[in-house]
């Protein structure tokens, strides 16, 4: 079977808007860990209270799938080292949010910083598969207060669509090394990573394992090191990219920015995020070498096709980096990550159970934001009820599914509610009037104080709606955010 039409069909990215300023981390912790001052440059992306790896993944996937038929997907891989659920298919939540068909192989891939790169390599090796595979890698990374991880890490997601069509890039070859080199680890009952000395990680890890994988990859592909135009390798150790490139025989000019200064290391997402960034800059004929380190190394070599020039519009890494909000509030970051026991008041106490029967029956309405459109009168409405809401119609069972998630709208009314409990008060909510019909009274996210009024254009984002600490559950819904 020809592989000429098989490869990367699209890609997407997402970073949380909030960028915690590293100097705020250093300032708060200088009394205990003065060494952090040396790392206090730039900013890192941090999840809002209502974001996690599932919601990050949905955003990256939407970016990747814009203009593509979601029903062509036969496989979805969600790769993350921070999946919210240990048991409940996380990819299934993403699939429901994206309204993928149920005839779908969904895979949660975890266990290593290479979960994303391995998933991508596996998808690209499966060129005989009939449908398309979406590989989404996302991480909402946890770290202890005052740790170097807190400085280095970032939160984010990237998605790559693999299949037959007009690929933007084709895989030339891939090679994986698996070595039980434990540079960091986290057992299932622990919240945070435990890391070993950086100098050892550099000398015995990156500098030996990555070059071995790259050498094997180049040998397999028959491509000369000098022919590589983009070298993507996540890693926050000082100048590690250049050092490894040199060891591999790659030119220093090929080494791509590891985004440490602007978003931090997004863990499992980072190999795909750097690949996406490379694709945004690439031109036809470029060769991209992706190397992902972690208990071994995945090395993937791509050739960029002429289709890259006609690639559709997307937010991408560039757009995600630009959509930023500086955040210097370290205390709020600690609170969002349960690193400080904040007094939340009695209004935070009410029990919030989710009845699984109710969620299941209404999963498309809730997780997919599916409403109805009346076949009799054309009225678009949410939620879809048995009788049409139009008083001149009121037809029974007359509505077809109508998806709101990709529709734009404007604010009809709003408030900033300081009374109701929110992890990040005030709560912004109000009525959204959708372009093309339909309205919803709904929560907003990412509203900046003073930058909201009637008429504000908004789009929908998939977010955490409520947490149920008593039973350890999180439920999701859609919110409006400034477009």
């Amino acid at each position: 079977m020809s592989t000429a039409d098989f490869g990367i069909l699209s890609f997407g990215a997402y970073l949380p808007r909030a960028r915690l300023q590293r100097k705020a981390i250093a300032a708060a912790n200088a009394w205990f860990a003065p060494g952090l001052r040396g790392l206090a440059k730039g900013e890192r992306s941090i999840c809002n209270w209502d974001e996690d790896s599932i919601t990050l993944a949905v955003e990256a996937a939407r970016d990747c799938l814009a203009g593509f038929d979601r029903q062509a997907l036969t496989q979805l891989v969600l790769a993350s080292s921070t999946l919210p659920f240990d048991d409940r298919q996380n990819a299934g939540v993403v699939a429901n949010a994206l309204q993928l068909k149920s005839a779908l192989r969904a895979i949660d891939q975890s266990g290593s910083q290479r979960a994303g790169s391995t998933a991508l390599a596996a998808a690209l090796d499966g060129y005989g598969a009939p449908g398309q595979t979406l590989v989404v890698a996302a991480d909402a990374r946890k770290s202890k207060a005052g740790s170097t991880q807190e400085m280095h890490y970032g939160d984010g997601a990237a998605a790559v669509l693999v299949g037959h069509g007009e690929p933007l890039a084709r895989l030339i070859a891939s090679h994986s090394e698996t070595v039980d080199f434990v540079h960091q680890y986290r057992m299932h009952d622990r919240a945070h990573d435990y890391a070993w000395e950086e100098r050892w990680v550099r000398d015995e890890g990156y500098m030996k394992i990555v070059p071995r994988a790259v050498a094997a990859l180049l040998a397999k592909s028959g491509v000369d090191a000098a022919a590589i135009t983009h070298f993507c390798m996540p890693g926050t150790l000082s100048r590690i990219g250049v050092a490894v490139a040199k060891r591999c025989g790659l030119g220093e000019g090929t080494v791509r920015d590891n985004l440490a200064a602007v978003c931090g290391d997004t863990g499992v997402a980072h190999p795909l995020l750097m690949l996406a960034a490379a694709l945004e800059d690439a031109k036809a004929g470029d060769r991209i070498l992706l190397a992902a380190f972690g208990e071994g190394c995945d090395a993937l070599l791509f050739e960029v096709t002429p289709a890259i020039a006609q690639a559709g519009e997307r937010r991408g890494v560039r757009g995600a980096l630009a959509a930023r909000r500086e955040d210097g509030n370290y205390m709020r970051y600690l609170s969002f990550n349960n690193l400080v026991d904040l007094e939340r008041g009695m209004r935070a106490e009410p029990d919030k159970p989710t009845q699984m029967t109710v969620l299941y029956r209404n999963r498309d309405m809730i997780q997919g934001l599916i409403g109805g459109k009346c076949r009799v009168c054309g009225t678009v409405q949410y939620p879809r009820q048995r009788y049409c809401v139009n008083p001149e119609c009121n037809a029974l069972d007359s509505q077809d599914d109508y998806a709101f998630s990709e529709r734009s709208g404007t604010l009809m009314s709003y408030t900033a509610d300081s009374l109701t409990y929110s992890p990040d008060p005030p709560t912004y909510f109000g009525m959204v009037q959708f372009d093309g019909g339909g309205r919803m009274l709904m929560d907003f996210s990412e509203v900046e104080p003073g930058k909201i009024d009637v008429g504000l254009p908004v789009r929908m984002v998939f977010r955490i709606k409520d947490a149920d600490p008593m039973r350890g559950f999180v439920r999701y819904f859609w919110k409006a955010t400034p477009a």
Binding site: G345, M346, R347, E349, P350, D351, K352, T354, Q355, V358, L359, N362, M365, I366, T379, Q381, Y382, P383, Q385, V389, N390, P391, L411, M412, S413, Y414, T415, A416, D417, S418, L419, T420, Y421, S422, P426, T427, F429, G430, M431, Q433, G437, G438, R439, L441, M442, D443, D453, V454, G455, K465, D466, R475, F477
Partner: protein
């Protein structure tokens, strides 16, 4: 349309507890306080009551479910007793049950009692609570002030109102209600405040500050109603009659259909039109003597003036600032202090409004008595601007 209930039912007696932070009381004590006053006012014995309605909304905070707590507390002799709940319009719903029972001929004398014990939550404002299994999955994370604050944004957008002028009109509303409540010994908040106090108060839900929000109170109110013949037979003179009782409930059009603009209450407009028709009021702005509306928030009162046809649409800010609804104005509003200052024990509020109408029409309103009122209108609202229950009553002199 049905012939309506005008003059078929009169108020035989009413009672109302002191509203406020009643740390000393259980809900049952408040019920007895209101009932004793009503019973004495009616001049009957409890065994003459043939049917009763209990209105209470957040029963899990105090009484628990069903009508049994009313029957047990008042020792009602195995009569039919019904508990009703319809958001914050619960009190008027209890009255409607009793009034309809009498109007239908099913009972000669019936009782309606509303009660709420809200100050046992441990914090200010209404208790946080679930909104239903499915609703909890998609409704916004809203508080009552947050949902009503939406009115201000939409009203401003529709009428091109100036933000500061709207806020000043809202402030005027609260200042007026505090001034009125100072003359009401049963009111929860009796302190006078200034416009500056309102404008400088902490923000609760933009643009509603602390003084734009009504009190959360403990309290109970009670009505005993009967046929005009029964009342006359008991020697009552100058009867106060129920002229109209109308309720309109949202069916989802506001929140789901693209017609409503968010700046008014669709339900109030419909219920008011029906109530005026039932009562025979054709020119509300000229005919209504006084009004007690559901001023849960200042902005609610403002838009309600238009919904009740007391101000032409888009002119409520002007009327409010001109003092049209002040105690000395053409149509005094919240002469008893309203929800804002009399307080808002949910199940009791609708009945408390009628209590003030009853006192005013009987000339028994003490230092806040208005001249010679002929038509009193109450407006009791439950829910949120986008989906709610509006309950309107018209109270007037029997036969007028």
């Amino acid at each position: 349309m049905a012939s309506g209930i005008k003059d078929k039912v009169v108020i035989l007696g009413m009672g109302c507890s002191k509203f406020g932070e009643r740390w000393d009381c259980n809900a049952q004590d408040l019920m007895v306080e209101a009932f004793e006053e009503a019973l004495a006012d009616a001049g009957i014995e409890r065994k003459q009551i043939e049917a009763a309605w209990l209105g209470t909304a957040i029963e899990e905070q105090h009484l628990g479910k069903s009508a049994v707590p009313l029957a047990m507390t008042l020792r009602l002799p195995y009569i039919p007793v019904t508990r009703v709940e319809n958001y914050c319009a619960t009190g008027t719903e209890a009255l409607r049950g009793a009034v309809y029972a009498v109007a239908s001929g099913a009972a000669d004398i019936a009782l309606a009692l509303g009660v709420e014990k809200l100050k046992d939550t441990g914090y200010g404002g209404l208790p946080q609570r679930g909104r239903g299994a499915l609703n909890d999955l998609f409704w916004p994370n809203l508080s009552a002030p947050g949902s009503f604050a939406q009115l201000a944004a939409a009203y401003r957008a529709k009428h091109g109102a100036d933000k500061d002028e709207l806020k000043r009109a809202m402030a005027h509303i609260s200042v007026k209600s505090h001034a009125n409540a100072a003359r009401n010994p049963k009111a929860h908040l009796r302190n006078a405040i200034t416009e500056d106090d309102v404008l400088r108060a902490p923000m609760i839900a933009e643009p509603l500050g602390l003084y734009d929000c009504c009190g959360v109170s403990d309290g109970s109110a009670c009505a005993i109603v009967c046929t005009p013949d029964i009342a006359r037979g008991l020697g009552k003179k100058d009867l106060v009659a129920v002229k109209a009782l109308q309720v309109a409930v949202s069916n989802g059009e506001e929140v789901q259909f693209d017609r409503w603009d968010g700046s008014y209450f669709a339900t109030t407009r419909i219920a008011a039109a029906r109530a005026y028709k039932e009562a025979g009021i054709t020119r509300p702005r000229e005919q209504v003597s006084l009004v007690d509306v559901h001023d849960c928030f200042s902005v609610t009162e403002l838009v309600t003036m238009e919904d009740l046809q007391l101000s032409p649409e888009g002119t409520a800010i002007r009327d409010v600032l001109d003092g049209f609804f002040d105690a000395e104005g053409a149509v005094p509003c919240q002469i008893d202090g309203g929800l804002k200052c009399f307080g808002h024990p949910i199940g009791a509020s609708g009945l408390r409004m009628v209590y003030e109408m009853y006192l005013q029409l009987s000339g028994r309103a003490g230092s806040r008595q208005l001249g010679a009122p002929t038509w009193g209108v109450t407006h009791n609202l439950g829910g949120f601007p986008s989906q709610n229950v509006a309950a309107i009553s018209v109270i007037g002199a029997y036969g007028a």
